[in-house]
């Protein structure tokens, strides 16, 4: 279970403090598929970065299975990101000089899987998201956007994370491909009992999720 209590995040900028998140409270049960919607600048990415321990909140707590990740040390946060969290980004963010297979193996290395087992596991993951053997050996520049996003989903799921955080995973894809990617995420979360929290602008997609949070000026409104 993921429980966020009174979470706030401020950034200091030249024109004073910006309150990106303001007293956010929300709960997502294990295995649920939750979506976050809201206008640009409402704080969606900021919320995801705090949930994924990429940044430290100004105040409030984030409890994942009873542990407050905001209070972890830097080393523990890195380990948390490696083992408990999977990230899917709008811009895929694959390492350009590594092949699809190597990108997935990199996550497995950080997750602590023994070197011998990484290749087989990465091949399995990539096959599961629908990449054939030839595509698996290509570098990201030689894959389509949809294929790259599949690789990034495989990478996010590599270490059996408790939570997958996706920031507009379909934002750069046409609606048909976007739907396929979403279905893929949905299907995998069901089979692995992974909690998924996805930011989206697509109301169709948001409507199909278990739970939807609407952000407005850093506050949850629904």
């Amino acid at each position: 279970m993921l429980a966020v209590k009174d979470l706030s995040k401020s950034f200091s900028s030249a024109s004073g403090d910006v309150k990106a998140l303001d007293q956010v409270n929300l709960v997502v049960e294990t295995g649920q598929f939750a979506s976050i919607i809201g206008k640009s600048g409402s704080g969606k990415s900021t919320l995801l970065s705090l949930l994924g321990a990429l940044d430290i909140p100004t105040s409030g707590s984030i409890e994942v299975d009873g542990v407050d990740i905001a209070k972890l040390s830097a080393g523990q946060q890195t380990a948390y990101r490696a083992n408990k969290i999977g990230f899917v980004f709008q811009h895929y963010n694959l390492i350009p000089n590594l092949t699809a297979l190597e990108n997935v193996m990199l996550a497995l290395e950080f997750g602590g899987l023994p070197a011998k087992k990484r290749k087989a596991r990465a091949e399995q993951l990539l096959t599961d998201v629908g990449l054939d053997a030839d595509q698996q050996l290509r570098k990201p520049a030689r894959l389509s956007g949809g294929q790259q996003q599949r690789v990034s989903i495989a990478r996010a799921l590599a270490n059996h994370p408790a939570i997958v955080l996706a920031d507009e995973p379909t934002g750069n894809l046409d609606s048909e491909t976007g739907k396929k990617i979403f279905d893929l995420l949905h299907r995998l979360s069901r089979s692995e009992k992974t909690t998924i929290i996805a930011v989206t602008h697509d109301m169709d997609i948001a409507g199909k999720t278990d739970k939807t949070f609407k952000l407005k000026d850093g506050k949850v409104t629904a």
């Binding site: 940044d55 963010n93 590594l98 190597e102 920031d167």
Partner: protein, 446 residues
């Protein structure tokens, strides 16, 4: 794939840029190696010159230069001052004179030549006589025979060792007998052999031995015991050159100072060590130059790696953020970049060291010879027999340009050490940059 293999792989991500970095590094590493070689070779030469310079000090009367100049010879009082001076282990004293045709039955084995004739042009002519008078009254100039009265015949040797006696036996420099060593050229000219006699200053002198120094001037001379020459020329106790040997090269300077105080302005004191020090001064400046070169090239190399790595880190900022976001530790990311820097540096080092090995020999030679050209004009001319520094310094002059460069394991190890230092310095600052990159940045649009 692991940190190391990713680092090596990344080093070749942009072949053109990597090539440029490697080339610049290779040049500075090549420079480091050749400068180290130059410095080591030159230092070895300096030590060698200083070691062969010996520990002798030469004391000559002020104002006398060979047979030229004026002034009084050193007196027995002054000699008595020199002998007990601290650190002086032995002394040898010399009195030079020249035998003219009226003094001896010997015929000089030297041709007068235009040089000799010019040296004698002032003699015998009265200053107010006319040109034709002078030519008429003046006897034709004749070459003279040099007489060296010495307490140590070996001091006449030109190679720093013992005098080379080709027949007969040497003489006792401390006796006052009418015996002589005759130079090989003079002996041939006058048909002298061991046991022959000749007249000098009205006395009959017996030939004890024939010597050969391979120096035409010396080999045309006569060596006799000091006291004999003093008696024959009626200069009791007079000496025009004293060579003192000091117990250790460390004490040469202090002994020169002590003698200068004791003898005052009456004598000129020179030491081989001082002469050697002067002649290696230019080598010392090359050595310093080479050290500056090593330091400069090291800094340049470090700056090249530093700037290259900063550029690379900035360029891959997002990628570093992604690696951190998916659970890569700072240590792993830094390790990967340090490996990348190391790979570039090691390749640069291999190319650079190869370059250095090829270039260091010619570079050392040209450094040394160009500096010798500029200093040779300042070295003073060589004069008469008292002026010939026996052995040491003369041989120094001829082979000071023969600095041999060689690459020792120490130089190689030092170069590699410096290279690693460059890589370490060049990676440290980028590592700090890496540690400061916040993974949250990956969620921001590019």
């Amino acid at each position: 794939m692991n940190v190391v293999s990713r680092g090596i792989k990344n080093a070749f991500r942009s072949p053109l840029r990597s090539g440029a970095i490697i080339l610049m590094l290779a040049i500075s590493i090549g420079l480091i190696l050749s400068m180290l070689v130059a410095r080591t070779s030159v230092n070895a030469k300096i030590d060698e010159v200083k070691a062969t310079a010996g520990t002798s000090i030469t004391i000559t009367p002020a104002g006398v230069f060979g047979f030229a100049g004026g002034g009084d010879p050193l007196t027995s009082d002054q000699l008595a001052t020199i002998k007990p001076t601290a650190h002086i282990t032995s002394t040898s004293a010399t009195l030079n004179d020249q035998l003219s045709t009226t003094d001896t039955n010997l015929v000089s084995s030297l041709d007068l030549g235009s040089f000799g004739a010019r040296q004698q042009r002032f003699e015998n002519g009265s200053s107010n006589s006319s040109q034709s008078d002078r030519l008429a009254t003046r006897p034709a100039p004749t070459p003279r025979t040099t007489v060296t009265g010495t307490t140590n015949p070996n001091s006449v040797s030109t190679n720093g060792g013992d005098l080379n006696i080709t027949s007969g036996s040497t003489i006792d420099g401390n006796s006052s007998s009418l015996v002589a060593l005759v130079g090989s050229d003079l002996a041939t000219k006058n048909n002298l052999t061991v046991g022959s006699t000749f007249t000098a200053y009205g006395s009959t002198v017996t030939v004890s031995g024939i010597f050969n120094t391979a120096n035409k001037f010396q080999d045309s001379g006569v060596i006799m015991p000091l006291t004999t020459v003093q008696n024959l020329t009626s200069q009791a106790g007079a000496v025009n050159s004293v060579t003192a040997t000091v117990d250790s090269s460390d004490n040469v300077d202090s002994t020169v100072a002590a003698l200068t105080t004791a003898l005052g302005s009456k004598a000129d004191i020179t030491s081989q060590a001082k002469q050697a020090a002067n002649s290696v001064a230019s080598l010392e400046s090359i050595s310093n130059l080479a050290l500056a070169g090593v330091i400069g090239a090291t800094i340049a190399g470090a700056v090249i790696v530093l700037l290259a790595m900063i550029m690379i880190v900035r360029e891959r900022r997002r990628e570093i953020g992604v690696i951190k976001a998916i659970g890569g530790t700072n240590g792993k990311v830094i390790g990967q970049f340090v490996t990348e820097a190391m790979t570039l540096t090691v390749i640069g080092a291999i190319v650079g060291l190869t370059l250095g090995v090829l270039v260091s020999g010619p570079m050392t030679t040209s450094l040394v010879s160009s500096s010798q050209n500029s200093t040779s004009t300042t070295s003073r001319p060589q004069g008469g027999p008292a002026e010939i520094f026996r052995g040491g310094v003369q041989s120094v002059r001829t082979n000071i340009t023969q600095v041999s460069s060689s690459i020792t394991p120490t130089i190689f190890a030092t170069s590699i050490g410096i290279t690693l230092l460059i890589a370490a310095v060049g990676s440290a600052v980028p590592a700090w940059f890496i540690a400061r990159i916040r993974p949250a940045e990956v969620l921001r649009a590019e």
